[in-house]
Symmetry: C2
Subunit: 335 residues, 2 copies
Amino acid sequence: MKTEQVVLAKRPEGIPSDDVFRYETIEVAKPQENEIMVESLYISVDPYMRGRMDDSESYVAPFELDKPIVSHIVARVIESKDSNIVEDDIVVGRLPWRKKMTVNSAEVTKVTNHDIPIYLYLSVLGLTGQTAYHGLLKIGNPQPNETVVVSAASGAVGSVVGQIAKIKGARVVGIAGGQEKTKYIKTELGFDEAIDYKDSNFAQNLAQAVPDGIDVYFENVGGEIADEVFKHLNQFARIPVCGAISGYNDNEISFGPRIQPILIKSQALMQGFIVGNYADDFPQASKQLAQWVEENKIKTKTSIMDGFENLPHAFRNLFSGDNFGKQVVNVENDI
Amino acid sequence: MKTEQVVLAKRPEGIPSDDVFRYETIEVAKPQENEIMVESLYISVDPYMRGRMDDSESYVAPFELDKPIVSHIVARVIESKDSNIVEDDIVVGRLPWRKKMTVNSAEVTKVTNHDIPIYLYLSVLGLTGQTAYHGLLKIGNPQPNETVVVSAASGAVGSVVGQIAKIKGARVVGIAGGQEKTKYIKTELGFDEAIDYKDSNFAQNLAQAVPDGIDVYFENVGGEIADEVFKHLNQFARIPVCGAISGYNDNEISFGPRIQPILIKSQALMQGFIVGNYADDFPQASKQLAQWVEENKIKTKTSIMDGFENLPHAFRNLFSGDNFGKQVVNVENDI
């Protein structure tokens, strides 16, 4: 049986162009003992993957050239040699970008709750939800009536961060780009304030939105937006540093005001993290997140792009500011 | 009775020039109930005071214009209206820069251990020792065989940080300016490595001194030295941010590589602090520090400049890189 895969053809400079990705036709192996054959339904594209495309030391190994790109995928089982898994089961795992593939069943997790859209296992019920949960609660530790600011607030992580902060009783200010997004986080997600970083009065609007200063800043973007936020930190502010997407496609190091004087002045804490640091607590967090989703306390938005051929396009969307909510690619009709 | 005082005559730009300080002759009040009259013996000059000379919001209120400059002073009691304090008692407190003064006895602490030089109550047994102790142990939390790097390593705080890290079993690398200082911290204080930041091969020498990366960086200086250190952070590195002396006299904000990508890559923690954050633990730390000093596990160096008239000069010395160890001014012969 033949299938298609997407490999890393070359290392990108800046935003990955089409020739960074190469489509290939390959053979799918027959499943052996403890293996399953699956077909991809939804493929996740995530900003952190940009780092893996570079050939530099990081917290995750770089993607290898001429090998498939890997991300989280929700897939349907089409053949099983594992007694715990049957045809038509839905599984999720970190898998190569292939339409069909045979994998060891230990590489995937079976999805048991079918009352919610299965692509949520790539967002709020998957790694982006876990990222928001642990980064906010373990590092940010928001208290009732504290002011929490989150950047990229309409994104997969930021939107969940803001809603969890609301559940914890904090006053939440989201930063996002454009009126559609700011309106969404304020009216649909219930943020207290939403600031458009594209507005020429951004700095002034931000200052007005945080009259009592900032106790927690959940950092997703870095760059000049963050520089502006840092001007309002309260004493003992906490800054979970989850991402710095503004610089992911830069070839040069981003310069800004050095942070040391700011941290001393506020006696603030800034901590970088990756979701894997909290793997031991994933099961407990999954349960809590699923409950909040079912109770409609956490709402989500997913940008679904159709077609296996659109994976590069969907990935680039993450950096254009055009995507809204969690970006996934639906490939279920591409068999 | 008349005495002399030093007031802030104007706010400095850059390194404070002589006309920032004004000497005045004033009257000393007679002590009333619960008051004591003291004569200054040793006056502390400390880098953090530079921030108080500016008229900007900070963690401590700015010095007021035309009011005396204030720092820690070791003084001798010459008259007492407090039943717990007698003439010739030695006291220490945060006091105005005056040769003689009358203060409420609650503003000072009596020095009970006279087996060690009393000016150590301005350094290792005073706030700089407390700063080193709490910043290193509460935030840095060095473990045996971890690599600890400290900047301004021959200074009042840095020298104590390095020696406590050695007591805790860490491998300690100090950064200081010039061969005299690097030789001192390596041969006299027992640091494992000492790197001269003035050496043109600083970056390379630092890299060679931390073959296993850096687990704790105790930050005293900021600027380009720190930028270089950040290239070697290990996963889960901890960075107590105590000072950023390189920029204290700058009128403009210091720019450097933004820190967010570095913190994410290492999942590092960076925390600004001031010693007052740990006031509840001062008594326990005082006892421990005094024990280490008596056991000769912590050695100290004090730069003593004579003469009340030299306070401005001694203060400027902090920023020239010329001072060595804790800088104090001896005024006991200036009565």
